[in-house]
Amino acid sequence: MDKIHNNKAWLLVLPVFALVAFSAIVPLMTVVNYSVQDIFGPNNRYFVGTEWFSQLLRDPLLHNSLLRQFGFSFSVLAIEIPLGIVIALSMPRRGLGVPTCLILLSLPLLIPWNVVGTIWQIIGRGDIGLYGWALNEVGIDYNYAANPTDAWITVLIMDVWHWTSLVALLCYSGLRAIPDVYYQAARIDRASHWAVFRYIQLPKLKNVLLIAVMLRFMDSFMIYTEPFVLTGGGPGTSTTFLSQTLTKMAVGQFDIGRAAAFSLIYFLIILLVTWLFYTAMTHTDDKA
């Protein structure tokens, strides 16, 4: 840490602070205000204290959507992280293949999220979609619009399709930072592929993986657009995750007080998880 201590640096940060305060602190304060009131209109509101919170925390709606959300986020991590590592290990290390792979892998990441939903909405259909049609042809009764399990799996595969490239790209850039000398030494020692991975590559990937896990967890935790377009949260509520439950409450039913209380609970979860990751990140920085 050889940074100069200078509180005048605050002047440089001030514009960011002002802007983000305007778009984060003011809204957050508003959410807190809303969450303790029952609001029917601009001049028609009543103070209800913590009523919304007590109600929500006992509400199976919140419990179920929270459980679904955690289930989804952990499934996403369980598939995308190992798959991303495998793909990063399979990528060529030099030659023309490198830029080609990088660009092709980036493609899903650049697609607008509702188009991602559209793509899978189309390709999963039994009548006009290649995957849905193929599944039905081989005798699997697959219909993501009617069967909750199918819908769940489709949303999961869509997310794997959408975001595994991110994990792969991160791991790949982590792998590229390993000097060739390490591999040469391993070759002299006749180390097995597994040993090379376990003792050379994996330790070097630790930091990158931490970021990958954080980004994938947080982004899957706020997933909204893709399942909204693909399944609309159904059938039933089988693919309704936290963001969609909240949006339905806020915009659909205009249940402002309840939605605000929901937002705060949601935000507290995000805050805790982000803080854990941030601490882990800066902690490893300190040691390095």
Partner: protein
């Protein structure tokens, strides 16, 4: 081993590309062909769907709306993020780490949480259904993103350069604009690309803060769903048009793609 690796990569790339191909394929078919039988490529190639998207004002205006708020957002984000990122990469100051963390939480916070107050806020100051409202709302996650990415790039620039410039009598603004910004040009490019992209792909805030006159393309796409069913061909064509901007510039940032997605931390 070599062939097995290639096979894994090949299978994955096919998995990635087939759905995109399918979208392009559908966009070149007429609805009659889409619904009558499953064909791997268009029997009769038609550009009608694209003609609608590119000539009908209700379509291309939404495209322009999207481009305008995305561009505004990009300019605002970079303008405020550049000095802040410099401060974070060069100085320690009271509360710097907490400030940095707070920015991160805004990148991580779900837009759904901010939906209600944003709606009320922009309605009350009369900006509802304008592109500037969406541009400002997207600053919520793009400004932190830009700060993090730029900080990552700036930390790679040796501090000796700053010190030499100050000794040579450069003032801070002159040093920053004449020397420092050219040095981190790739970083600025990458940050701009990611601001552009994240603003371009976002739907929830963009659709809540607009209704008619500032409607973005991602919202217009939902209008292909009507009582008469879904206009698949048109939807697919709009989708292809919507994913073009990202693909158009990915080549230029290919080497920094990972760094950008990882908030500059790789």
């Amino acid at each position: 081993m070599k062939t097995r690796k290639l096979l894994v990569l090949f299978i994955y790339l096919v998995f990635v590309l087939v759905p995109i191909y399918w979208l392009v394929n559908m966009s070149l078919k007429s609805n009659r062909e889409i619904l009558s039988s499953l064909t791997l490529w268009p029997d009769t190639l038609t550009l009608d769907n694209y003609r609608v998207v590119l000539t009908d004002p209700t379509w291309y205006m939404t495209y322009l709306n999207s481009l305008s708020y995305v561009t505004m957002n990009m300019v605002i984000s970079l303008a405020v993020a550049l000095p802040a990122a410099y401060a974070f990469s060069r100085y320690r100051f009271l509360g710097d780490k907490h400030m940095f963390f707070w920015l991160l939480t805004n990148r991580m916070a779900p837009p759904a949480v901010f939906l209600l107050p944003f709606f009320q806020l922009y309605s009350s100051i009369g900006l509802f259904d304008t592109t500037i409202a969406v541009a400002l709302a997207h600053c919520l996650f793009n400004v932190p993103l830009a700060v993090w990415i730029l900080e990552g790039f700036m930390s790679g620039v040796p501090k000796e350069i700053d010190e030499t410039a100050y000794i040579d009598g450069y003032s801070f603004p002159r040093f920053f604009i004449r020397i420092f910004i050219p040095l981190i040009r790739p970083g600025i490019g990458v940050a701009a690309f990611f601001c552009f992209m994240y603003s371009w792909v976002e739907l929830l805030l963009a659709s809540t803060l607009t209704s008619v006159s500032a409607k973005p393309i991602v919202v217009q796409m939902t209008s292909t769903i009507s009582a008469a069913g879904i206009d698949w061909g048109l939807l697919a064509a709009a989708g292809v048009v919507a994913l073009l901007p990202g693909i158009a510039v990915i080549y230029f940032v290919r080497n920094h793609v990972a760094k950008g997605f990882a908030l500059g931390r790789v």
